[in-house]
Symmetry: C2
Subunit: 414 residues, 2 copies
């Protein structure tokens, strides 16, 4: 039996115990894990230093090094995250619906844990603690498979939390880390049906595509967002500029950032210079259609790939369109069904856009950056689902559970 | 572009219109389709005759021929099914939850169609009309890929319903049939990401396994049920006999039929002769452990594979166990997480079994045969999900939908 299957068996055993654990006991474990992280900051920073040295030696630099780096403040952030999850309501045990059938059978649909969750992720080592917290609170054992860049940090963080669990009488196999970071271990995880109930990839588009294409274990697809802001002819233009700037630049590297701007033709001459000035102040490159280029000096002509591109950078594509219908058609063609926004003062256009755009989140007069578990009041999130099965949009604790029917009879037969 | 991708594009276009269609208009289409089937019984029976002749020529016989056969009554059943779906409430447009955030954003989570559903199924041609009805009512376009045995029947049924749609101004591409029944067409469907939003296999364990293992499109796994009835020492033994007989023999070929009987050791000497007599009356073969074999003349010794086997036949495995914990452990090891039952008068044992058995449906004192969309009051079902993502247990109209967040703002930015 492979090492991963053995991990899967241990995880199943741990999840069986965890599934019956009540909230106070789970919350206590999360607080102990948080405390252990705070008590071992130095060991974590030391392990992290080894990762950074390896990364630098391998020519990695800039933002990637920043994402990999753990300092005291980030470790405190990880511990705070665990405490915050401890403070959230427990989704397990909720009765979702219930009824009595005409034959007297009483049926309850109860929320229960999934069982074993696999998470494949990339460089950020703080995901390690976050993912554990959410999975544990929702009653699931987790098998984590991080990237090789963060392996020393991940091992240390997992060791510290497992030790805290074990010393306090919890089954430490609720949390396991795949230490083999070869491609082969990720591939085996993707085919571990019967051991892993659901697999969640967290990372770039390439990772997510690989998991979706190769996994036979059910996957929740997260992430890719080619989000549009459509500025209708009736828009409050000052508000529209603020929304575009916020959606594009408040944090350009994330999936709910705006990548493409659509502007109604009737206001193009007025609005495009306004917004391009504001974008230029933030050093955003504009890739426009002919009309946009004619209005904005220094803008680059967009080609077909730009319309479909998730830049994750200080770049925005921009196009002048006829009306809301054309905006909707453009989004149908190029969007990734993540977050889409119309800026308008017109009731009919607002309703049409909300009804007809197919996405996890559709906005009127607000930044697409709000598509987030914390912002939506879920308390925390494991990712943003861009698929239609199971969960759509930000996923919190509830989305890490399933249900089971519990049926009370008194001898009924068919 | 492949024929299937073209079908996918037409389905996407049709689903876009269908997603905005209100219930009365959808119900009218379903009634028209039902009427068309009734008006064309003879053509359907004629096409079906060709399928039966081919099947007989290929050496197919018995139950399979019966499943393939359409007569007037079965066609009326198909039409009735469509009318019944027309009479069910429309799941689309329901507001699942809603709230106002502290920043004034108003968020609604609304139920919307999936988009395009693919269904891969085997010989029974009545699935063709059933699946169309459920997908259409829930606002989804459907691409059907039936088995080669029923291809003439399926083509005729689909042609008749498409014609009814078209003549009445509906987009007939809401319903499309893959006419190529080679393995290659099923394989291509499994990889049609971007065209098919969800794939549902309906059929035997082999078909389902193939789809789960090969599909990159999200799949809802249906079907396999190795269901247990555990008779506790406190059980009402007469009721227990009725439940076992019903669960095993009322319809042995379906996934919610009982395949395995577990009996508490304290009542084995009394109960096993009672139940074996009743089972023998129904010509059920018993494959037992040593103790069962010692009590039942003519029973066969069960081997390891029998405990895990979904017989779908007049065969039951039977085992004497120590207590409820051992029953739960046995089910954890051999069960398929479909439907499990305890027969007991003991409160603690009942609650323990309900809490600790991980399955789509867990019963106290009732036949496992109730795990069914119709019985659960869903009105109709597209299948019984045995996975934990999205839907678990019988799936009705609601399970063919997803949700989207609709957010009303007034200029909010982060």
């Amino acid at each position: 039996m492979s090492e991963l299957k053995k991990m899967g068996e241990r995880a199943a055993e741990a999840s069986y115990g965890l599934s019956a654990m009540l909230a106070p006991e789970k919350n206590k474990a999360l607080r102990l894990a948080a405390e252990a992280l705070l008590n071992n900051k130095e060991s974590i920073i030391e392990a992290n230093r080894a990762d950074i040295e390896n990364a630098l030696a391998n020519g990695i630099k800039g933002a990637l090094i920043d994402r990999l780096t753990l300092d005291e403040k980030r470790i405190e952030g990880m511990a705070d995250g665990l405490l915050q999850v401890a403070s959230l309501p427990d989704p397990v045990g909720e009765t979702v619906e219930g009824k009595t059938l005409p034959n007297g059978l009483v049926i309850y649909k109860r929320r229960v844990p999934m069982g074993v969750i696999g998470i494949i992720y990339e460089a950020r080592p703080n995901v390690t603690a976050d993912a554990f917290g959410l999975c544990f609170k929702s009653g699931n054992a987790v098998i984590l498979r991080g990237g090789k860049e963060a392996i020393n940090s991940n091992k240390m963080i997992v060791d510290i939390m497992r030790k805290a669990l074990k010393e306090n009488g919890y089954n430490e196999d609720c949390l396991q880390l795949v230490e083999n970071t070869d491609r082969s271990s990720a591939e085996e995880m993707m085919r571990l049906n019967g051991y892993i109930d659901v697999l969640i990839p967290r990372g770039g588009a390439g990772l997510i595509r690989t998991v979706v294409e190769n996994s036979t274990v059910p996957v929740i697809e997260t992430g890719t967002g080619n989000c549009h802001v459509y500025v209708d002819k009736s828009a409050d233009l000052e508000s529209a500029v603020k929304i575009v700037i916020n959606a594009k630049t408040q944090r350009p590297g994330v999936c709910n950032a705006c990548e493409s701007l659509l502007v109604h033709k009737d206001i193009a001459d007025l609005f495009i210079p306004m917004v391009s000035e504001a974008l230029k102040e933030k050093d955003v490159e504009i890739r426009g259609d002919e009309k946009v280029c004619s209005l904005v000096s220094g803008s680059v002509k967009a080609d077909e790939t730009d319309w479909g591109c998730e830049f994750l950078d200080y770049i925005i594509s921009a196009r002048v369109i006829e009306n809301t219908d054309e905006a909707i058609a453009h989004i149908r063609r190029y969007g990734t069904k993540h977050s889409e926004c119309i800026v308008t003062e017109d009731y009919r256009e607002a309703q049409k856009f909300l009804d007809r755009v197919d996405a996890a989140a559709v906005y009127v007069n607000a930044s697409t950056r709000f598509t987030d578990g914390g912002e939506f009041g879920l308390g925390a999130e494991i990712g943003i689902s861009t698929q239609k099965l199971h969960a759509r949009g930000p996923m919190g604790l509830k989305e890490l559970t399933t249900t089971k029917y519990m049926i009370y009879g008194n001898g009924q037969i068919r």
